[in-house]
């Protein structure tokens, strides 16, 4: 009890949440987990949502700061399941698998891409190393709070541990000269051998039953793989081609790990297989403006969102920033709607679907009492090209305001809008980030 009290105190401190309640009045509220509320009222306090509903049904606390947002639309903050903001790195060229390498230790928080993500209404992101390895490292789930240090962006689980996943990849990006695999079969074999090694390590630890002299030497990588085997850590698997997607399902079945399918360009071709896999938490799509540019992704197409939705797959989206711009994240969902996905499904895909894929569905992804006060205030229809993000709030703190000149610079671009973005361009040229 004391521990959880301490933790919640820490969380509030980290969020810098307002002690005074804030009431948003007059907007259309899109709770995502329920139908839109016209002219609703939303109240937040201490970084959490404390009330929402039609205006007459919500009592605004007497001391609340009122925000008249009439005519605008309020949604839960968007969740980006796959971003490379902060020049994030994982493992190096010394080997194909780096479960010991942490995104935590590599992210440059001053990267303007984080401000641009705020300008796009993204409040939570899974920042991942690239796809040039079978396993490039641990990812990091972050809240896009305002800060100059990574520590303030972290998301902690109920037990105080950090929230993150592991990035894996198959297909062509991780095929290289030795020590990397040179073929698809070899790629799968290396992964299977390493997981078998992790099982043996785990069993040794179990058999030691806490006896120090019986324990194997600590191995950071095998510890992480052990967490995957135990279902404590989600694998974010970069995969494009239909056969590679099925290989992911086969591996997930063999080692019973939880997996989020990332990109899934050919997901339309194997939608039923994806839907039938008990290991798959969801599929996160990137939709692009034309086919091709990358051979194994040449059949990436807009209808995939609709096809996966109809197959019953939890379907979300990601920016793969810098592949697509975080400021235009809602566009991804809108393009899915253009090709047949339901509006409800697409908005769910920007919010709750991502929350579920990160295992954070109890805290974020919808407007519900008790959830984190992560909000995006839009000028209109969330799926219209003409709509602007007006404000973004994280844990009850405003992190983006379009009426602020500096924030507007990030939203529109201009001189100085892209500071500290790092050298990701070279990665794109090598095709390693998609």
């Amino acid at each position: 009890m004391l521990r959880s009290l301490l933790l919640s105190a820490l969380l509030v401190a980290a969020a810098g949440a307002q002690e005074t309640p804030q009431a948003f009045v007059g907007a259309s509220l899109y709770p995502i987990t329920g139908p839109p509320i016209e002219s609703g009222t939303l109240v937040i306090h201490d970084g959490k949502i404390v009330a929402l509903g039609p205006a007459p049904a919500v009592q605004i606390p007497a001391d609340a700061v009122q925000h008249d947002v009439s005519g605008s639309v309020v949604l839960p903050g968007f969740v980006d399941t796959h971003s490379h903001a902060g020049s994030v790195e994982g493992g190096d060229g010394s080997g194909p698998m780096h479960p010991d390498a942490r995104a935590l230790d590599s992210i440059n928080v001053r990267d303007a891409r984080i401000q641009k993500a705020q300008a796009g209404g993204i409040t939570t992101a899974n920042i991942m190393p690239g796809s040039g390895h079978l396993l490039s490292g641990q990812t990091l789930y972050v809240k896009h709070r305002d800060s100059k240090v990574i520590d303030d962006l972290l998301i902690r689980q109920a037990d105080g541990s950090l929230a993150y996943g592991v990035k894996m990849a198959n297909g062509t990006n991780s095929r290289k000269d030795p020590p990397f695999p040179g073929s698809r079969a070899k790629s799968a074999a290396i992964v299977r051998e390493r997981f078998l090694e992790a099982i043996a390590y785990r069993d040794k630890v179990t058999q030691a039953a806490g006896e120090a002299d019986e324990l194997p030497p600590r191995d950071l990588g095998l510890e992480t793989l052990g967490e995957i085997l135990a279902g404590e850590r989600v694998v974010h698997f970069h995969t494009h081609r239909h056969d590679d997607i099925l290989t992911v399902l086969r591996l997930a079945d063999e080692f019973d790990f939880k997996v989020v399918l990332q990109h899934v360009s050919d997901g339309w071709a194997v939608a039923d297989e994806i839907a039938a896999s008990p290991q798959v938490l969801g599929a996160s799509l990137i939709l692009i403006d034309s086919p091709g540019g990358k051979l194994e992704a040449k059949d990436n197409q807009l209808p995939t969102g609709a096809i996966l939705e109809q197959a019953g797959v939890v379907t979300g989206f990601h920016t793969d920033d810098p592949i697509t711009d975080s400021r235009l994240f809602n566009r991804m969902a809108a393009l899915a709607v253009r090709a047949g996905m339901s509006r409800e499904g697409a908005l769910y895909g920007l919010t709750m679907a991502g929350a579920r894929m990160l295992g954070l569905e109890e805290r974020i992804g919808s407007l519900q009492v008790g959830k984190d006060a992560d909000l995006v205030v839009l000028s209109g229809d969330p799926l219209s090209v003409y709509t602007q993000v007006l404000q973004t709030w994280v844990d009850g703190t405003k992190v983006f305001d379009r009426s602020d000149p500096q924030d507007r610079l990030y939203a529109e671009g201009g001189f100085g809008a892209s500071h500290d973005q790092g050298h990701i361009l070279h990665g794109i040229a090598q095709g390693e980030h998609e």
Binding site: S290, A334, V385, G413, F415
Partner: protein, 405 residues
């Protein structure tokens, strides 16, 4: 797109290209002509491939036997003012990448028409969204990369499709033109020096070619002949320049040699608007959603609007992409520009009539007016809205796409 879909598209292309001239009437709840105010409930009649009548449905008599089509919104066929598709293919493998020849930094003799593949999937792709004309050719990323052409997005041969075989000569000043290793040009100053030296050499070539004594005429030189078209004012030099310093370098060289120049890219144009306007050059602004990094890190969604406000002739483009997406859709780029200050009307003009003017083909295309080519795009709503579909595309009276995109 599946293999089957591509095959079907190819077969459809073969089947429909048999009809040389279309007889068709298109009714739109709204017709944006790009030549005045939009018309409500209006009809566009295309006869023998050319627009023969435009006006309110009540005043137009559709000739017997004409095919009729209807749509919520009708626009002129869209023009992508700067692309590389047809030279660059969607597979992005060595065999379908002809937009850059890396053997030398200046090769103005390279003709776009010798490299354009009209059956490239990306051509069919952009057409499906309403793009009926592309200004395509050699890419940025080389000091002088080669020629461009204006081409209709139909036909099985470049001869059928081409509108203007030599539209511009493509050049780049800035990081894109930097050669690796110890090859020249390795610096910005060297780029300008090489370009100036080549223009001087070309002028000398032209002078010798026009000498009265035929014995003094030089041997034909394809490279100098091509650049000679620029010096003689017949063909603009299309120069990609993103930073302010590079834009000003281009204007400096333009003034020195008194050559026609079209600026391309101009990510930082907002800081040199006066200089661009005073030089009287047109601009083909970078794709609105181009990645902001490297020398384009300061680009703005609002640059197109700023250029418009400054009175600078401006068109939008799909541009060149080396990776994913392999081509951008100028329709989508214009939509985002429309939402970021440019507004609907100017955004549409920047991919229709204003693009046609920048390319010097506004006598034939770019607006729905009697006598112009029957190039029309049909949409089920605001063409810029994310969830609107392009429902049909007509080029010179021929229905080239009826797929809902």
């Amino acid at each position: 797109m599946t293999r089957r879909q591509r095959l079907a598209a190819l077969v459809a292309g073969i089947a429909s290209s048999g009809a040389a001239f279309g007889q068709i009437a298109v009714t739109g709840a709204t017709v944006h002509t790009a030549a005045g105010e939009p018309l409500e409930n209006a009809v566009v009649v295309i006869e023998d491939g050319k627009i023969s009548q435009v006006g309110p449905a009540s005043e137009i008599e559709i000739p017997d036997g004409f095919r009729t089509m209807t749509a919520a919104v009708v626009t002129p066929g869209l023009i992508d003012a700067r692309s590389t598709i047809g030279l660059s293919g969607y597979l992005n493998q060595e065999h379908d990448q002809d937009q850059i020849e890396a053997s030398a930094p200046m090769q103005p003799e390279l003709r776009a028409i010798d490299a354009y593949n009209p059956r490239e999937a990306l051509v069919e792709w952009v057409r499906g969204y309403g793009v009926t004309t592309v200004h395509t050719g050699h890419a940025p990323r080389s000091l002088v990369s080669g020629q461009t052409a204006v081409i209709k997005t139909r036909g099985l041969t470049v001869e059928e499709a081409v509108v203007k075989p030599l539209a511009m000569i493509a050049a780049t000043v800035g990081d894109g033109a930097r050669e690796r290793g110890n090859k020249a040009p390795g610096t910005r100053a060297k780029m300008a020096a090489m370009l100036r030296a080549e223009l001087i050499k070309t002028r000398e070539y032209l002078d010798r070619r026009s000498a009265e004594d035929e014995d003094e005429h030089p041997d034909r030189d394809l490279r100098l002949e091509a650049l000679g078209e620029v010096l003689e004012g017949n063909v603009p030099l299309l120069v990609t320049a993103q930073r302010t310093q590079d834009i000003l370098t281009v204007l400096r060289i333009r003034e020195e040699f008194d050559i026609p120049v079209v600026l391309d890219g101009v990510a930082e144009a907002y800081d040199v608007l006066d200089q661009i306007r005073d030089a009287g050059v047109s601009v083909i602004v970078h794709p609105t959603m181009m990645r902001a990094q490297g020398e384009t890190e300061n680009l703005s969604f609002e640059t197109a609007a700023r250029l418009r406000d400054a009175g600078i002739p401006m068109a939008l483009q799909g541009g060149y992409e080396s990776y994913v997406p392999k081509s951008r859709l100028v329709l989508f780029e214009a939509g985002v520009a429309a939402a970021h200050g440019l507004g609907f009307d100017d955004a549409l003009r920047s991919i229709t009539i204003n693009a046609a003017r920048v390319l010097g083909v506004d006598d034939r295309i770019g607006s729905i007016e009697v006598g112009k080519d029957g190039d029309i795009a049909l949409y089920d709503g605001d063409p810029f809205e994310y969830s609107t579909h392009c429902v049909a595309v007509i080029i010179e009276g021929e229905v080239v796409s009826e797929e809902v995109r």
